[in-house]
Symmetry: C2
Subunit: 361 residues, 2 copies
């Protein structure tokens, strides 16, 4: 059964009449179509019996190389309204009682659709495409293993080059070059040094690395349409006095979450396993995010491993385990693994140790 | 008067009670705040008397380095609902009759706000922030001039390196390195060769450049928070027989639009000036996009120079003039200038000739 059929079955089960997708991960997963996205509405619509694209005229020839699905083309002069009306008429979309909108769609594009079906219930993709995308098949799992290997290489390159006197940006460049050389697209490279390591999503910048710095290195790329993601720690010279003790707590939290992650378990119990370790050690207030997120064609996607998620874990799910402790003004520590959930438990994709990398300066 | 005051005045004039902004160009323009954006709702709300951020807990410490505005913080465990309720209560936002949403906000984040004020009129930023952002002050104009100079350098580097046997991707790398070396962030580099040049937004790829290829090079970077954008043509060896004739038509269309662009003129007349030249030459059906777009902190922003835009041009507006002719299966030609509209007419920012760059192979 192809993905469109599977999605239509989900739509039937959830009584969804119409799905609207924007350029991005959902559309690429469903159709392998990845058109240029800008402020011009480009929207794919799907019902039980029909489908079509609202398509800006200047993108049509290029998008046609990727799909044979019918285009309802509009020009910069006329705007999208009448093409959208024609598409909705052909799809009997005006009668929709329940619609699903791609959560990543721009608000103005989503409004075009919503304003046409004002009385319809509106949901996002979590219970339809999101549910399908959560379970990775064997070929997707193999790509994710390859990607994890590339991320390991990028991490090793960063760890071998990093030293006092470099800027965070320079370390990020090493990471980006490593992905590029492996044929992957660099996606993100957080290099958070010294007190910056206490910001989970630090914006990597011009800070110069110093002796004694704790450095969070969180990196990922894209290859064959799928993502990678890993976090490891580096310490330049002698770590702060309490560093090793806190690193061990985060390591224990990773192990506890890996132990808890089994098919049939509820996602929130995996979060609890990690969080309990950190809370019992007295650092609960400094673990300021969820334990993990799904990974696939997007860097963050379902399932989310939060303290309140009732998602039941199933074989084929792929997600991160990444507890952290962030002490403002001092330093932060995060260790992140990506796992594929197999029948018996999690398969950790990275081959790299999670130990502190204490580097000579 | 600071930007918040100016925006509140616009809100008063347009009877807008509440504005909601996402991380991105609008928020950066208004507050100089540029937080990490992901699937977690991070939204800035503004009314006549109040303001505040809905803020994911893990971003708070980092965002606090950029602003003193009050945060309504939520955690991955609890979700954003109750923090948003508190923010809307403090801002008396539940009583809003008219709201403006950042058009670039994700659909699921916009829905959080819209679902709280279901009976309010909803608009996007065009008549409030969009209107303010359209007029660039002297310091913004100077940054845009600097940026145009960087783009010229990147274009010259590409033109000096491009040759038969290179891939499109390799030419794009030259462009990206040039921006990086100048301290700018590479934003986009369309290298559309041979038949690919007929796709206005070609996705630069692994095609190898050949003798006789027409190549569209459209590039831009970001520096000091503002964008650059320029398009020039390169031809490897002997151009196709009708190339020079069509290049001259596009050049004449650029000149006609530059002639038409004056303060007080309506934007659609600038589009008409360019389009008439191309239509009269018999190529109207191949000019498949608008004549231009505004340029500022975003690569595309108001004013849009389309066949139907009634926007009246004013001194301080900055926009592109970029007619093109795209013949499917053969080749495409686009020439793009960025202009600052001064009292007497347009100031073209690039110093580069628009002539065909016929390169030895």
């Amino acid at each position: 059964m192809d993905k469109i059929d599977k999605l239509r079955q989900q739509m039937k089960e959830k009584a969804v009449d119409l799905i609207a997708l924007a350029p991005g991960a959902n559309l690429n997963w469903l159709l392998g179509v990845n058109p240029h996205a800008d402020e011009r509405p480009l929207i794919f619509l799907l019902t039980q019996t029909g489908l079509g694209f609202l398509m800006p005229e200047l993108e049509a020839e290029s998008a046609r190389q990727q799909t044979d699905i019918r285009f309802y083309t509009w020009s910069d002069a006329t705007g999208p309204t009448s093409a959208l009306d024609n598409l909705l008429t052909d799809l009997k979309g005006f009668a929709s009682r329940s619609i699903v909108i791609d959560e990543t769609m721009r608000a103005d594009h989503a409004a075009l659709i919503q304003d046409k079906v004002l009385n319809a219930n509106r949901a996002f993709t979590a219970s339809t495409i999101g549910k399908l995308r959560m379970i990775k098949d064997k070929s997707e799992q193999n790509i994710l293993r390859e990607n994890a290997n590339q991320a390991d290489t990028a991490m090793q390159n960063a760890l071998s080059e990093i030293q006092s006197g470099m800027t965070e940006d320079a370390v990020a460049s090493v990471i980006q070059s490593s992905f590029s050389e492996q044929g992957a697209l660099p996606q993100f490279s957080i290099v958070a040094s010294g007190p910056n390591s206490a910001f989970p999503h630090h914006q990597t910048g011009s800070r110069v690395l110093n002796d004694g710095d704790v450095v969070v290195i969180d990196l990922g790329g894209k290859f064959k349409g799928y993502a990678s993601d890993i976090t490891r720690m580096a310490i330049l010279g002698s770590p702060p006095g309490d560093y090793k003790m806190i690193h061990q707590i985060v390591e224990d939290a990773v192990c506890a979450a890996l132990e808890a992650a089994k098919p049939g378990e509820v996602a929130k119990n995996v979060d609890k396993a990690a969080r309990d370790v950190i809370t019992k050690a007295g650092f609960g207030q400094y673990f300021i995010h969820r334990t993990g997120h799904g990974l696939g064609s997007e860097i963050h996607e379902p399932p989310y491993i939060t303290a309140t998620s009732d998602t039941i874990l199933e074989p084929g799910m792929v997600f991160s385990i990444e507890p952290g402790i962030y002490i403002p003004g001092k330093f932060g520590i995060r260790l992140e693994e990506i796992v594929i959930l197999n029948d018996k438990g999690p398969e950790v994709l990275s081959k790299l140790s999670r130990k502190e990398n204490i580097l000579n300066t």
